[in-house]
Each structure stands twice: as C-alpha cells, then as structure tokens.
C-alpha cells in the first residue's frame, strides 16, 4: 500500500471515530460538567469548557488513531529484520498545513476566551480595578459583599447593611453580586464552586469578582490556596435564596451581630490586623 492510501485510511478512521465521539462529548458530557449553569458566569465557564472539549476530542482522536494505526500496521514482526523505512525527511506542505491548522485553533481559543472574560469577568478575581464589569439588571445596583479570609475561616461583610459581618453566606437570586475578597494574614483563595467564583485573598489587597445569580440553589465553598495547617478544613456551604428570604436573613444577622458591630473596625477594602513590627 502506498503512503497516500495509508493516509486516507487514517483520515477515514479518524473521521468515523471523531464525529460520533465529539457529538457525544458535546451533547452528553459537556452539559453535565461542573460548575453547572446556576449563574451567568458559571454558565460562561461551561461554554468555554464545551468549546474546549469539542475541539480537543477530534484532535485527540486524530493523533491517537495515527499512533495506534502506525503501531499496528507499521510494526516490524520479524525481530531479526534489517529492513529500513523510507528515507523521508519531511514534507513542507504537511508542515505548513499543520502549523496553519494549530495556529487557527489557538488564535480562535485565545480570542474566544478573551471576549468571554472581558464580557463578565468569568467569575475570576480581577483585582482592585476590574476591567470587566457586567451590567446589573435594570434598576438594581450590584450588591457588595466583602469576603474576609483568615486562618482558617471565611467571613462576609455587607457594607450596605451597616457593615455586618456574618459567618455564613446567603445571596439573593437574580442579582449582580460584587465580591471584594481580602485576607487578614496569608494568601487564601475563595472558591464558591457552583457559583463559578474563584478569587485569591491576599493580605492588604482588594480582589473584586462579579457574579450574576439566577434561581435559588446551594453551593460549596472551599479554600483553594494552601494557607497553613488547617487549609483542608476551610470549607463551608452557601445558598442563593429568593429576595425576600435574603432580606429576612440579613435582618436576622444584623440583629444577632449588633452587639459586636461596635467593636469591629470600620468597613474598609483592606485590613491590617497585625501590629506592624518591621521596617525599623
């Protein structure tokens, strides 16, 4: 068989495998991938995952088919054989085609990822001056919530509710939330998985992340940056609740923590709780 015929066979086998596999992955696997479609940002993360899965499945299948076909067909069965392959040192047209294809895919992915990120921040921490500010639903200002990380717990401050600091987190549905993530000691990372938010908490630094909630649901919170001995125990759950439930919850919290509100430092984007013992 000539090389061209082998090549055609690999091509057809790849296509026969890649088309159904890609369809299965995109239609069955991708919609069930975490973090789920609970918020706008999480949904956009899933879109990105779907695109990546949809592009990488055929690529993986083509490359694997190529290798497995070669192993089976071009294998030397006679161990004492001294036969050699063709003295082929490369072909410019194949190389150019490969470079053009991979470059196109890469550029498409970079553009898609950038556009998606610039649209709504993708739920990632964007630092004190975010470049992607999603528009809040009409007539509503974004709800500011400060996430304060310390060894080994997250607490939450609500500046629009007299700066009350709560132990757990509830969020109103259908609202744009503006998280301000900061730390009191070392680097933590606040990850609300199904919410689609991940933002590092750095001491003395205000890291802003946006999320647009939809309907009520429960989400997991974990610390994803190694922060010392009890890092593995820094987890919690939170909930997105209806607007009225949220209002009653926050009123309840305000009441509960009213006695200690006086002793909290005034709301600020950053805090420096430790005595500053350096620099002379």
């Amino acid at each position: 068989m000539t090389g061209r015929e082998h090549f055609r066979r690999v091509l057809w086998i790849s296509i026969a495998l890649a088309v159904p596999a890609t369809l299965l992955v995109v239609l069955l696997l991708a919609p069930n991938m975490p973090p789920g479609d609970h918020t706008v940002q999480a949904g956009h993360q899933m879109d990105d995952t779907t695109i990546l899965l949809g592009l990488s499945t055929p690529i993986a299948i083509i490359v694997l088919t190529w290798f497995i076909y070669s192993i089976i067909v071009f294998r030397e069965r006679d161990h004492s054989s001294v036969l050699e392959g063709p003295a082929d040192r490369g072909a410019a047209n194949y190389q150019i085609a490969w470079i053009a294809t991979t470059a196109t895919i890469v550029l498409f992915l970079a553009v898609f990822g950038s556009v998606s990120m610039l649209q709504d921040g993708s739920g990632g921490g964007q630092g004190p001056s975010p470049i992607a500010k999603p528009d809040p639903p009409a007539g509503q200002a974004p709800l500011q919530i400060q996430v304060i990380a310390q060894q080994w717990q997250f607490t939450y401050r609500f500046p629009s509710y007299r700066g009350v600091e709560t132990q757990h987190l509830e969020l109103p549905a259908n609202r744009l939330i503006e998280f301000h993530v900061t730390s009191l000691d070392v680097i933590h990372s606040w990850w609300a998985q199904q919410l689609g938010v991940k933002a590092d908490a750095n001491p003395g630094f205000d890291n802003v992340a946006y999320v647009q909630t939809k309907s009520p649901f429960k989400f997991d919170i974990r610390c994803v940056e190694l922060c010392g001995v009890w890092h593995g125990y820094m987890f919690d759950t939170g909930t997105v609740v209806s607007d009225s439930d949220f209002t009653s919850w926050i009123a309840q919290e305000e009441q509960t923590y009213a006695p200690i509100l006086k002793s909290l430092p005034p709301y600020s984007t950053t805090y420096f709780p430790d005595p500053q013992r350096r620099g002379g």
């Binding site: 694997l64 070669s70 050699e84 990120m117 890291n207």
Partner: protein, 629 residues
Amino acid sequence: MSSIAVPARTTSPWRRLLGFNLFTGILGGIIGFLIGELIGNAIHAKSLNYYSITAGQNDIEILLGYFFGVVGFLGGLGFLNYPIRRLMGHPPTLVEHESEGEGWWRYITLCTDHKVVGIQYLVGIAVFFFVGGLNAMLIRTELLQPNVHVFGANQYLTLVGLHGSMMMGMMTSGVLGPLANYLVPLMIGTRRMAFPRIESFTFWLLMAAGVVLITTIFLGGFQTGWTGYAPLSDQGTAGYDAYIGFFALVGTSMTLLGFNLLVTIITMRAPGMTWSRLPIFVWSVLATAALMMLAAPMLVATLLMAAMDRTSQTAFFIAGNGGSSYLYQNLFWFFGHPEVYIVALPGFGIVLELLPVFARKPLWGYRIAVAGMLGVGILSFFVWQHHLFVSGINADLRPFYMLSTELISLPTGFIFLCAMGTIWQGRLRLTVPMWFCLAWAFNFLWGGISGVFLSSVPSDVTTHGTFFSMAHFHYTIMGGLIFSIFGAIYFWGPKITGYRFNETLARWHFWTLFIAFNSTFGPLFALGFMGMPRRVVTYPTSMQFLNDWVSISAFCIGLSMLIFLWNAVQSWLIVREPAEPNPWGSRSAEWLTTSPPPIYDFERFPVFDSDPYPYGVGPAGEPVVASGD
C-alpha cells in the same frame, strides 16, 4: 588536551580515606554546620520571627549552619584545592581523579570525567526520586479516607511539600544531570565538558541540597508546599529554612549546569558537527540549558529575599510594610514556569532521538523540531502569569497571557508532528525504549490538552487550584519526563554500564507503569472537576471511591518501580550479561565507541559528515547510509 594516558595512582586505601572525598566532605559539612550555628547563635536577636509561632526560634543560626555546612562539605570534597593551587602560582590542570586505577573511588570524589559525573547524577538523583515517590505513596495513604487517619494535618502538608520540592528540585536536573553530562560530549565528539570542575560541583551541590531538604523533618517540616508562598512562609517553623536552603542550592546548581552545557555545546563540537547536524537530543539540552541559566537565578534571588524576611526583618513580601505577596508569586513563577519546560523539553529531545532508531527512518522534520524546542524555550518566559489568573493581579494583561500560553501549544505541536511523521511508514521495532516513547506521546497528549483548559480564563476559574491542574502537570511531568527518562535508561543503559537489561522484566515494568500511571492520574481530572482542591487532607465522603481507586493505583506505580529497581540491580550487579556493542543499531556518534566508553571517549576525534539519522532507503530500495566518522 592530547594527554590521554593518566598513570594509575598507587596510593593505599587508607591514604585515600584521608584524602579529599565524600567522607572528608561529610566531616567538613558537620564542622561547617557547627561553625555556622556558633556564628548564628552569636547574632541571635529576640523575636526575629514576624508572627513568632515558635518562641526562641533562631532562623539565622539554621541558615548560617546550612551555608557553612555546604561550604565545609564542598571544601572537604576538594573543591577549594584547585583555586588555592592556582592562587599559589601552580600551572592550570584539567584533570582530577580521572584514572581508571582508582576504580569506584572516583564516584565519591570530585571527578572531572563527564561519564563518572553522569553516573553520580544517575544514582544520586535516583535515590531522591525514590524518596520523593515514597512521599507520594504516603500522601495517597492518608487520602484513603476522607478524614485524617494516619498522619496529622501538619505531617501531611510536610509530605506534600517534600514530594513536590524533591521532584521539582531534584528531577529538574533529571535529564541534564545524568544523561546530558554523560551523552552530550559523546554525541558532539568531545572528550570533556567545557568546565569539568563546575560539572562535578553542580552534582555535589545538588546532593548537599537534597540532604538540606531532608533535615526539614527534624525542624518541624514546612506547610507551604513546593511553591513556598509568602507570607505563609513567614509563619513557617525552622523547617521552612530547609526549604529555602534546598531551593537556593538547587537553583545555583541548575544555573551552573545550564551554563556549562551551553558553553560545551556552543564551543566544543567536533569538526563537521554543524548546527544542522546536531542530534535533536543535544538541541533539546541546549534549549533547556539556556532556560536553566536564565530562570534559576530568579529562584535563588527570590529565596534570598524570603530568607531575609525571616531573619533580618525585611518586608519584601509583607503587605502593609511596603512589600507585596504578589512580588513572591511573580518572582517565583517567573522561574517556575520556565522550570516546567526545563522539565519537559529534555523529554521531547529523548523521544525524537529514539524514534528514528526504532522506526528505521530519519527524523522527520528536523528543522521544525528544532524550531519547536527553541519556540517552547522562548515562549516559556512570557506565560508565567497564567498561574495568577484568579489572583487579582493586573487583569488587563490576562488576554495577553492567555494568548501566549495557548501559543505554546504551537511549538509543542511541532514535536508531535515530528514524532508522527517519523513513525509513519517506518519499520517499527517495538522494543521497551520504543514503548516508553510511544507512551510519552499518549501521556503528553492528555497533559497538553488539559493544559489548554487551564490556559483559558473562563475554564481556568473552574479548574484552577484543583486536582485537575495537579493531574495536568503529572501527565506532563511524570507521563512526559519520567516516561522518557525510563526510555532513555533502557536505551542508553547498555551504553553506560555495558550490560544488557532483562527484557522480560523491562516489559513488565513498562506495562505495569503505563497502566498504573493512567489509572492513577486519569481519575484526578474528574476529581478536580468534582471540586477537590489540591493539598487538602480532607474531602467529602462522596469522593472516597475515586480517591481510593487513585491511591491503590498509586501503590501499583510503586510496585512497578520495584520491578525496575530489581531489574537494574539484577542486570547491572548480579547477572552482568554483556551487551552488544550497538544493540539497537543506532547510527549516532555515542555508539561509535565501546560500551562503556574508555576514559578518553574516542580513540580518535570523530569527524562528522552527516546528522545522526542516516536511516532509511531511497525510492528504489537503495540504502541511504552515511557514516558518522
């Protein structure tokens, strides 16, 4: 350089014991450590630790102990002799401990024979590789249950840090130390490295570093993982000083190793060894060496700053005193990302070097393979902030880092293209080294594809810091580098030792490793998506089944490594069946000489008139053979 025959020394073993060797080195190390402790105690100040977790802990004492200990160790090995001799007006010499009459003593001394250093590296790094692997087994033992049951949270994190540091620190030189030191002079047709004493220096420095890291278990361990982020590092017990000492020494060793190889490859090629005839493995070494030389000093500088924060109360990384925790992250990853390509690139080189031999075809697309390696090398300096996509650092630059990171898949794709082109229509001999190369392609494919998920910001927010990223870099580093190293050991082992491997055991090793590896790290992708962060000691009970699966598979990797160890011991020390002079029918220059090569490498300097891949037959079936000498 014409003096080949070095007369055998006739000194008695007792006289040698007192000379400069490993034993006097250890003695010097202990004395140096005590001197350092003494000085450190003298400058002991109160409350040197910012967070002062451990009252009365004196980091100055420990760091000075390490410093003087290493100086004493190297002095005891004889590294100061030559500079002192030169200062006193003696003529320059090239050779130290290079006569065969010295036998195995050469292996525990400052030896300037590149083959001895290669074997020193091979054995030394293997020791730390297996210790690091054992740490991984212990980590997986702890993760058999969702709650703490074998080690405490503290010991667990120390194990995680030890595993990461040992693998990333020691295995960075995993190819360039043993294989490049041994093979590059043979491949380019020279008899020694450009700086033979520096070559030996890098090895002994690395061994000193390994010992320094292990001392952390006597000092409370460290809880920062291999990344050692500040300001967590500031809270660390004295065990973190061991981490600083370790990586600073590793960084110094890497810089010098890279510099030495770079100069050797550029200046010491034999006649006819033009750039376009350089074996592809040497090209990968060249690219890696350049990365090492440029990236590793950054690591040393970063750790010196961390050390100053801990000892002399500077505030490089302390927010609120003018410092920034981002500074550490930036500096660390400016080293850390080239570092992972330092680890990956030599694997590319090994695979592309071995495939033509077993496919009986020339390397397909030599130029594009070179371009791929240099491209990866250059691009690797422009991607480091993808580790900080959710950190809050300048979000404006995120599209750029997304693009640069995804662009790296172009040159990596070149390597795949060359591998695919080389095996196409070849006469594939499916030997054990060949299987390891093919497994490299399989593993690295998944490693590369999963990398794209981490390079795109939206999907990175999902996967960052989870087991997904952990699985990703194990697929590239273990599935890529470690598999290619084993391929190289099976391929060049007969060259280095002169003995044949047991083929059956080798096949068992390959297939058990390949299956156990994929069974271990494949499910981690799923665990990451399910929401399991890295470096946690607890996890939800719903994830126990997958975690147990992974743990048991990891133990199987351990068993597979035992097969390899047994094979190495049996083949090299017990059975010792001599290998054929050129068992694989390779046409590269290193097989022109005997196995193992004589001290002077070549009877006559080779003169090259082709690249090392004159395989294959022309269209009419006529052989296309060009000799290498």
